[in-house]
């Protein structure tokens, strides 16, 4: 099976193939990448000045969560519909550690991330036995198993009530512990760390092997790569990023509920990833910004039925703009640039 999300009209290699490809456009896009990075960093740092800081934190957390899903979907060709298991379990472990041991929040979040990676090992081991649509269904079902387990362990997880009042301990610096504006700047570093890790993974030799597996698993196997092992490692790394994001989210809100583990959360992050653009690292943050802001506006305006709006947008994206917002914009830009070059030749 080829790249699960490939569509026949896509002949330009836009599916996650980055600018390091030795093509003319690749070299030309070099400086753009640094401009994008600067713009992205600036936007992330300026965000809490313009919108309510907890919402800004939500955007950042969902952005990293979407990047973690895209690492699998866009760069390995696996659609995980069970990433809530990692986001949510990390949210719980982060919360439990902060509540019971009172450790500084970055330590708690890192512990949550490690826990997410630990449960990703068996889930990944079982799930990579299937590909394509089966992989999506199997991950979905395993994530729901984690949800039910958390619901049963109500002594630990608080069951339906979730974990309440998670303290944001931060080396005694009071402004971070009580003020969401300062907390944003204390926590955004973790998000940057996660995004940087994703970028490093994708641009490493390991990441190139993942792309090779996505595009032609049989050939990758013939070249001597242990395909399943690469997939499991990618799955665990992706789970770690999802866990990092989930921990930040739980810290920011000061609580963790079963909703974080429910499959609707897995669905939401897939929606964000596809909306932004599969196989484009910037698509995740863009999708997260749109979806989180939209949900915030709809909820505060008292409109019930966010799913109608989000679902409709999603249906339109899947039907007409399968490269997502970022991918479609990039395609248009590339086509224009290619046109200009043809004329000048």
């Amino acid at each position: 099976m080829t790249h699960p999300v490939k569509d026949p009209s896509n002949t330009t290699g836009t599916s996650g193939v980055d600018a390091s490809e030795p093509t003319l456009t690749g070299r030309r896009r070099g400086p753009w990448r640094w401009v994008m990075l600067a713009v992205g960093l600036f936007t992330a740092l300026a965000l809490p000045w313009f919108i309510y800081p907890p919402v800004a934190m939500d955007i950042a957390a969902w952005a990293l969560f979407a990047v973690s899903v895209d690492l699998l979907l866009g760069y390995t060709g696996l659609l995980s519909f069970g990433h809530a298991a990692f986001w949510g379990s990390s949210a719980y472990v982060t919360g439990l550690i902060a509540i019971h041991w009172g450790l500084p929040f970055p330590v708690a979040i890192l512990a949550g991330m490690l826990f997410a990676m630990a449960i990703a090992v068996p889930i990944g081991y079982l799930s990579v036995r299937r590909t394509g649509i089966y992989f999506a269904m199997v991950t979905l079902a395993f994530a729901q198993m984690i949800y039910f387990i958390a619901n049963q362990l109500s002594g630990l997880t608080g069951g339906e009530n979730g974990l309440q009042a998670i303290p944001k301990s931060f080396f005694g610096i009071e402004s971070v512990e009580t003020d969401s504006f300062s907390f944003y700047y204390a926590a955004i570093g973790l998000i940057f760390l996660g995004a940087w890790a994703a970028w490093r993974i994708i641009h490493s030799p390991f990441g190139r092997v993942l792309v090779a597996i996505r595009d032609n698993p049989a050939r990758a196997r013939a070249l001597g790569y242990d395909v399943d092992r690469y997939k499991i490692i990618a799955f665990v790394l992706s789970a770690g990023l999802a866990g990092l994001a989930g921990g930040v989210f739980a810290m920011s809100h000061g609580f963790s509920s079963l909703e974080e583990l429910n499959w609707t959360t897995s669905g939401k992050v897939v929606l964000i990833t596809v909306l932004g653009g599969i196989g484009t690292l910037w698509g995740g943050p863009l999708g997260a910004a749109i979806v989180v802001t939209l949900e915030d506006k709809l909820t505060s305006s008292g409109f019930e039925g966010t799913g109608i709006i989000l679902g409709s947008i999603f249906v339109v994206i899947v039907l007409l703009f399968r490269h997502g917002i970022w991918g479609t914009a990039r395609d248009l830009l590339q086509r224009r640039m290619a046109g200009r070059r043809d004329r000048s030749d």
Partner: protein, 288 residues
């Protein structure tokens, strides 16, 4: 002993819902290669439609006939307007499309009918219990069991003994070769999709007197359905039915004997199947 029989009946009744809906999922997947994420939402629509019809004075037996026809129409619309355009692409796109669709359907029902359940009484003639000596069984559960058995058997006959069934099976097996043999596969795509949705709707009607009718009733159901078809082998008609009843039984015994693990047990079963028979109990390796 009598408790055990009751749990078995309970399991088979719950399994009847799973088997019917999974059958619809399997038929759709077989012919279109689409995993319909909105199957749970369609099941919910079936139950809601039954409740609305009851409000209009049409009782359960009428709903049992009318709702599948309505849902067939919904399925035809879904296929014609949306699913059709993505059939040539990777099946993941239709998975995502129908996911978006189920978000819309669930929230539409939520807006219209609220989050609290709609009322539905046990239909006349099916309330109370049947007594076999010392054994007392819920009449409605016995009915659900028998009825879903009958429907599954009918679908099985339809698929194996009729010309239409042969065409559908041939298209499932190898659409390309069926075309080469002069079968218009495309003509059957829409009715098969509608038929699959109608089965989900039928399961919904049968669940109406039995379960709480809410907009969210399908959201957990569809995940269990996925586990069912993974266990049975996606695309396998027999696998869907057997795994449906099996999962129903596991759930019921789990609730009776180990309530803590009742819901987890289904997924443990799925994990075991994925580990030892990745293609599912009745699936073939190459269907992946």
């Amino acid at each position: 002993m009598s408790a055990f029989v009751q749990y078995t009946l309970q399991g088979l009744a719950a399994g009847g819902f799973y088997a019917l809906a999974a059958l619809g999922l399997a038929v759709i997947f077989g012919v279109l290669g689409v995993v319909n994420f909105s199957h749970g939402a369609c099941y919910m629509l079936g139950a809601v439609a039954a409740a609305v019809l009851l409000d209009l004075g049409m009782h359960f037996w009428v709903a049992l006939a009318v709702v599948p026809i309505l849902l067939f129409g919904v399925g035809v619309l879904m296929e014609r307007l949306l699913v059709r355009w993505l059939l040539r692409l990777d099946p993941l796109y239709n998975f995502l499309l129908t996911f978006g669709l189920s978000l819309i359907l669930v929230d539409l029902v939520k807006r219209r009918y609220g989050v609290s359940g709609l009322p539905y009484e046990r239909p006349a003639g099916l309330e109370g219990q049947l007594h076999f000596g010392a054994l007392a069984l819920s009449t409605y559960q016995v009915f659900v069991c028998l009825f879903s058995f009958v429907i599954c058997a009918l679908v099985w006959l339809l698929l194996t003994k009729t010309r239409v069934g042969m065409i559908v099976r041939a298209s499932t097996e190898d659409a390309e070769r069926s075309r080469a043999l002069g079968i218009n596969v495309g003509r059957w795509v829409t009715p098969v999709f509608g038929f699959g949705i109608a089965l989900a709707g039928l399961a919904g009607v049968m669940a109406a007197p039995f379960r709480a009718i809410t907009a969210d009733m399908g959201s957990n159901f569809v995940i269990i359905l996925f586990a069912v078809v993974v266990i049975g082998g996606l695309g396998s008609i027999l696998g869907a039915v057997v795994a449906g009843f099996l999962v129903g039984l596991v759930e019921a015994y789990g609730q009776a004997y180990a309530p803590t693990f009742a819901q987890v047990a289904i997924f443990v079963l799925m994990a075991a199947v994925v580990l030892f028979r990745p293609a599912g109990l009745f699936g073939r390796e190459e269907t992946a």
